[in-house]
Amino acid sequence: MKSRYVITGFIALLAVAPLVLPTFQITLLNYIGMYALVVLGLVLLTGVGGMTSFGQAAFVGLGSYTSAYFTATQQFPVWLEWAAGSPWLALIAGVLLTTAVALILGALTLRLSGHYLPLGTIAWGISLYYLFGTMKNLGGHSGISDLPPISVFGFALEKNEEIYYLIWAILLLAVLITQNLLNSREGRAIRALKGGQLMAESMGVNTFRSKLIVFLISAVFAAVSGWLYAHAQRFVNPSPFGLHMGIDYLFMALIGGVANVWGALLGAGLLTMMKQWLQDILPFIFGDKGNYETIVFGLLIVFIMHKTPGGLWPILMHFVPASLKTKKKLLPAATDKHAAAPDLPRRTQPEKGDLILEARNVTRQFGGLVANKEMNLQVHAGEILALIGPNGAGKSTMFNQLSAVDTPTSGEVLFRGQSLKGISSRQVASLGMSRTFQHVKLLPTMTVLENVAIGAHLRGDRGIISSALHLERAQEASLLKEAERQLIRVGLGDYLYEEAGSLALGQQRILEIARALCADPCMLLLDEPAAGLRLKEKQALAELLDKLRSEGMAILLVEHDMDFVMNLVDRIVVMEFGEKIAEGLPQEIQTNPAVLEAYLGGAE
């Protein structure tokens, strides 16, 4: 609640600033606002989505130059003349153009892993910059001047004090939209990009689409900032859109705190003020003029990356008294709010005893190594099947074949009668198969509730725009209600708003099961669910699985812990050296000589 007062106070201060501050300071605030808009996009892209771009300045340039071209060059073909001269039409054109360029660049580079994206952004950032400088009808290096001011309801924003309000209104709107978006079904998918892509895909999230979305949003923010810049300056030339600015934007994001929306404002503010201040001070130290502030900035960034890679915002928040902080705003957060939400529709569940999953002669070869050989198994609704075997027996490979992460070299896997050949792990999720991971994959800084809600991704359908405008609250409430229901079902009802990373390992594994259940599956695939658990936790897990079985769930678990398996499951398949060496009831397996040989070891 109280943070709302802080924000209201902040807006009030912004509103009166032009009345009390000298023009110079307002100009500075204008810059900060425009930079912060770009940096906000970077926070989304880099801090939240885990992608790095050095090319944001080029998008700013696209926005700027489009508007300058539309409003000040008079070079239009006749059929477009009606559009000339209006900054607002130019804004639309700039946003469309930027979106188109970003779509192409994104499609080219976002699938690439690791360093190709930042290197790619450097390359096209530079290319666009040189292009601005060399295209004759864009005025070359001298640029385009005499841009008209932006008019709002017939009132021309000519002075810095006037456009100031537009800049900050747009920035605050962008902050609001960003926060809304992050706090939604689409937002959870975006937040999963950083370190949770494999998990998100298995929950049915199209991670490439999420990447492209944040990339487009960040590009559009930059283009809008460029549009403001062009009409605040009333003049454009290539120099503010070069790579050095692209780097500066990234520095701003990092100084402020790349993972936080408000870090964008802090970073833009700090860097702009410091630059101003250093440009005044440094010439006295070094004797002559030059861009010596870059030395300070460079070293400062190194220092921040060494000491606090999360930027200064988290440090700032550290000093804020706890009473001023609100728990992460997770609308609709309070339990009673989504209690009234309608339940999500459920898929038709199979009858107990129906055949759910079947592997037929599955063989998987890696080069000369045969990891799985002629594997057959079946899982029915209301049954727990365990796949066991010594380490290195090929269980994980088999698990990957069954969950469509990998495709068999020969043979096939059928899920509810449908072959999984050519089906991605994402599509499998929509068919009703849900999985957990051997090494727990959750997003440690997100709440338990949000983590589990990712599991329900495919049960919602509202997109980016309704998320950004929070028009999807009814569905969001249903999704969170479902997540909460599953958490209560597995016994984690007391931890809804804890950070997932703060749970014990056993609870994290249970959380993964809740997340899987959230997808309304008819089959669960569990990869070593008992690994690393203490005795009590194992018992709790066994009880949960027993309960799910009695409700008709088909469960397959890969496990190393025989003790856990023997007392829980209905049937066991034993693997060694990639092959099935035995199958049967637990008692049969315990007395099977081949199994004894495998487990008691070959060193007899």
Binding site: P390, N391, G392, A393, P444, G501, S502, A504, L505, Q508, E528, A531, G532, L533, R534, L535, H560, D561, M562, D563, V565, M566, F577, Q590, T591, L596, Y599, L600, G601, G602, A603, E604
Partner: protein
Amino acid sequence: MMTATTAEKTTAGELLLDIQDLHVSYGKVEAVSGVSLQVREGQIVTVIGPNGAGKTTLLSAAIGMLKSQGEVNFDGHLYINPDVEIMVGKGLGLVPEKRELFTTMTVEDNLLLGAFMRYRKGDGSYESTLAEVYSLFPRLWERRHQLAGTLSGGERQMLAIGRALMGKPRLLMLDEPSLGLAPLITREIFRIFADLRRQGVSILLVEQNARAALRVADYAYVLEGGNVAMQGNAADLANDPKVIEAYLGLASKHQELLSS
């Protein structure tokens, strides 16, 4: 297989590795919580326990691959949060679970790199160690010009062990050496442990193949949930119903097997 004679088993020398109250955490999850463990000179000690019990973490922390809290005493020196470079230089070797070979380099280069610390310190005698390793693993000699990535599973394990031996370790730690290996090869690898001990190399062995490990070892620790759940002479533990129960869930059958 031929087990080491009782006489060999009891000649335990000075304390070589002495870990006291070691804690290792991954973020907020503590994987090893307060483990104490000793290896005496000339001993084979094994650590067994279920997956996720913290066995691999324990070895990694002991050699300094992971940050830890607690004491690691090696060869009479105390190390807190040890440094890999120093530990390797002092004669601690680790054969990791995933082997971590230099797959695009030749077998011989892999072995030579095992002696990197000795070379750096100006110890030229690693050439003779190379000959010893080749005589221990004739298969590696045959394949010395082949890339490590082209070796079979068993040969890779031999190379990993050979590479570690090139550093002339006083204590060799092995993580799941039988992993994914056929019984015949496992047997051969275990035979080599006994040979090595005869040559004065002490061994700390983490194994899921509990039975084989308990046979070759003098002393054993059972790790569960990051703690030492049981410890004792390997022979005693091998007959302990609780160990059998925990590992195999096959208590009754196991008794038959022992008596057979």
